[in-house]
């Protein structure tokens, strides 16, 4: 009879996984994929009343003159780029121009209305609200979508912003006490139906179904030919605009389901999405980071802490590597905030299911959350630290349903119930803390067992100053805490058998098999506890390979360096080493540089 597969033996694969991240792919090419989008062409606005039209025109001209010159130039340029379908220009204009100008001029107010800027670019109105794009898709079954392009980044922002609005509105709506009479009135009547869960899911599912993205990805995975794929996905699915919107909608669904507390469904919608650093979504860094954050959190909700930790480690390493390339992006702040929350979540996972997954990440966690990390290992006293980190780092949960605005007789009692109940985050915190409390005794037991290879339960109970039967029950809890369903073995066995990745279906994120997650295992024989520890041997080979490679690079550099010209009359005071007459300082510094570099290796290794 074999023992459970060990988490410890699968760790090497993580490094390899990360080695395959192509940072260039993740960064630059938002615009390279041919992406199309549609302009909802609205015929020039013709007012019946000429007088009214004239008045409006005067008002619009006044408004137009208020717009800063630089913004006007930008609008004209941006419009031209879109009309010309110059993806590079669109990307540049969107990524830097739009965001900079928004920050400078429109952080507190809306951009000018389409009517006001119409004289600059003609009467073309571009609608990029998902609902509008969808409406267009629905209405034009007979026509082909006009071939226009948009950067992937922009398409992701459309979906992302859409969900953000839904989330913000839901949060705003749930705060009954801060509402004015007028707002309550509005929410009681037509406002109640705005942003219902059904309408939001409807938009996302429509994109997914219209673009046939799930079928598309499945076909890619089994290695279908481009012709077959074109057949499967149909007219809309073959247009990159709809492909990307469909794809991003899946990530959007992951987020919406998580916000609503449906963690299994959130992972299930990702069935066809390969969660790897080579996945499609890595093209847009913000999307990449969001996908990992929500998947990681869902794993925590499923109490699959090792999988959650692996997910966080993988993306946090990516963010670390990307940092030096990406600092100027407007997404950078947002990514950094999400990363910080993931460090907090990783700290929680590591407290509940310790592993030596990644020392680098663990060290950063200790730097940022050192105080909480220490407290979380201290049983009862650590509960507050768990709560603090969870509330800081959890998604902004929302209630699926509004408070009963439509019925004043229900709204009164609703307001009287204690307030914590109304916050969905408190609800999820409560559920999470139940699990934390269950596992409270584990760290202490573990630290005792580490000292023994066998130990009597009565003796352990006396150490802990507890009843023997209570300790035995806690031991059973500890045993279950050291087992978890995990994808670790699933993905590593896939890695090993990788002959043709595309021929292998990825398997659901919900899949997994039970593994042992602790380096300390035990079993009870009547009243005797037997302990076995798994230790990780020193990894000489990795160290050897890294340093050999570095030594080779140093050797190559030395060989490529021209020999120093020896001066016929050495200057007094510069006795050590040969000195070049022309550049004495540079030449003197050269040997130092070479050895300085090897010193760095030691630190790195």
């Amino acid at each position: 009879m074999s023992t459970r597969p060990q988490l410890w033996t699968t760790e090497a694969e993580i490094d390899e996984d990360l080695a395959e991240v192509d940072i260039n792919v993740a960064l630059g090419n938002y615009g390279q994929g041919q992406v199309a989008y549609d302009v909802v062409g609205i015929p020039p606005v013709l007012n019946n009343s000429t007088l009214l039209a004239m008045q409006q025109q005067i008002a619009q001209q006044a408004a137009l003159s208020q717009i800063p010159e630089v913004v006007k130039r930008f609008i004209v340029h941006f419009h031209k780029a879109i009309v010309d379908q110059n993806i590079t220009e669109i990307t540049a204009a969107y990524e830097s121009g739009w965001n900079k100008l928004t920050e400078k001029f429109y952080s507190k107010q809306e951009w000018p209305e389409a009517e006001i800027i119409a004289p600059l670019i003609g009467d073309v109105r571009v609608s990029l609200l998902p609902v509008d794009i969808l409406g267009f898709m629905g209405n034009s079954d007979s026509e082909s979508p006009p071939p226009l392009s948009l950067p992937d980044q922009w398409l992701w922002d459309i979906i992302d912003e859409f969900i953000y609005q839904f989330q913000s509105f839901s949060v705003w709506r749930s705060r009954v006490r801060q509402k004015s009479e007028e707002e309550i009135q509005l929410l009681a009547t037509e406002g109640g139906q705005v942003w219902s869960c059904y309408s939001v899911l409807n938009v996302l599912y429509s994109f997914i179904q219209k673009s046939k993205i799930n079928e598309h990805v499945a076909a890619l995975q089994r290695g279908a030919s481009p012709e077959e794929i074109a057949d499967i996905v149909g007219e809309y699915g073959s247009k990159p605009l709809y492909q990307m919107l469909g794809y991003f909608s899946i990530i959007g669904l992951l987020r919406v389901h998580t916000l609503l507390g449906d963690f299994t469904l959130a992972l299930k919608v990702m069935d066809n999405i390969e969660l790897s650093q080579k996945a499609f979504f890595t093209r847009v860094t913000a999307c990449h980071v969001a996908a990992y954050y929500y998947v990681g959190f869902c794993y925590m909700a499923l109490r699959r802490y090792p999988d959650a930790a692996r997910t966080f480690v993988s993306i946090l390493n990516f963010i670390l590597r990307m940092r030096s390339y990406h600092t100027r992006s407007y997404q950078y702040d947002q990514i950094n905030k999400t990363a910080d929350r993931m460090y907090a979540l990783f700290a929680i996972c590591n407290a509940l299911s310790p592993s030596r997954l990644d020392d680098n990440i663990l060290n950063i966690v200790k730097e940022r959350y050192g105080e909480q990390v220490t407290k979380m290992a201290q049983g009862e006293e650590g509960l507050a630290a768990f709560e603090e980190l969870f509330l800081y780092a959890c998604p902004k949960f929302i209630s699926a349903n509004p408070p009963p605005y439509h019925d004043a007789s229900l709204l009164g009692p609703y307001l009287e119930t204690p307030s914590p109940i109304m916050e969905p985050a408190q609800h999820h915190l409560g559920l999470f803390m139940n699990d934390v409390k269950n596992l409270l005794a584990v760290p202490t037991l573990r630290s005792f067992l580490r000292l023994y290879t066998s130990l009597d339960t009565a003796k352990l109970a006396s150490f802990l100053d507890k009843e023997e039967e209570d300790v035995v029950r806690e031991m059973m809890v500890m045993k279950q805490a050291s087992r978890s369903v995990s994808r670790a073995t699933v993905s590593s066995s896939q890695e090993k058998e990788r002959i043709d990745v595309r021929a292998r279906p990825n398997g659901s994120l919900l899949d997994g098999e039970t593994i042992s997650t602790s380096d300390l295992d035990f079993v009870i024989n009547q009243n005797m506890i037997h302990v076995a520890e798994t230790t990780v041997g020193r990894r000489y080979a990795g160290w050897f390979i890294r340093n050999t490679e570095h030594a080779q690079r140093v050797l190559d550099t030395l060989r490529a360096t021209p020999l120093p010209v020896v001066s016929p009359t050495p200057l007094p005071g510069h006795v050590q080493g040969p000195v070049n007459d022309a550049k004495p300082t540079a030449a003197a510094a050269r040997p130092n540089n070479a050895w300085g570099a090897t010193k760095k290796v030691e630190i790195a290794a």
Partner: protein, 223 residues
Amino acid sequence: MSAITPSTRPEVIEALVSGVDRYNPSNISILEDYLFHQIRSQEYDCMANLAILKLYQFNPELYNPDVVVNILLKALTSAPHADFSLCLALLGERDIYPPPQDEPDVLPYLLPRLTQLSSTELEILRDNYTVEYIGFEDAVRDVVVRAVRAAFQKIGRDRLSNYLDLEGSALDDYLSGLAWQQDLDSRSIVIPPNPDNRIEATVVRESIQLPQLTKIIAHAQVA
């Protein structure tokens, strides 16, 4: 969570759970009937039950406390999987904390606090809500058996008797059902070896694959 797709799941349910039809409120009765089928025939399908709770979440007017109670009981007996907590996560914070003044024994109110319940409350729970659930007690025993199987190689008879709430010949019958041997000398029960109660100390050695050495070998060629 426990099995994502149990082998007992009928095709019609599979189609419902995997597609967008799961959001259609008119399908609620199909899913509810399936739940009661699970209750009667000792099957369990967590995904399908979560789909019911999802419909309740989006359509509060459909909410049926009896159904919720049975879903929670089913989830409870799937421990140590997190099903119970996943179900509670989908139940709005309102639904599980109803004002208890007039009906203190409403189960959705009791269940989330299960570990803190008084013995009277537990009795209410047992008498009123577990009647329909065929094999509820055995399902709870299964939870115990799973925990014992993982942690013990040998367990004292009295201790196990206490865990299972079975004595004398009832316990003997139960043990022979599990094919667990009794060691009469030490009044204990031998748990058959399984991946969780076999432990061994190991040292994880690194394994180096050829591709990791390609750079070094390639360099040696050049040099």
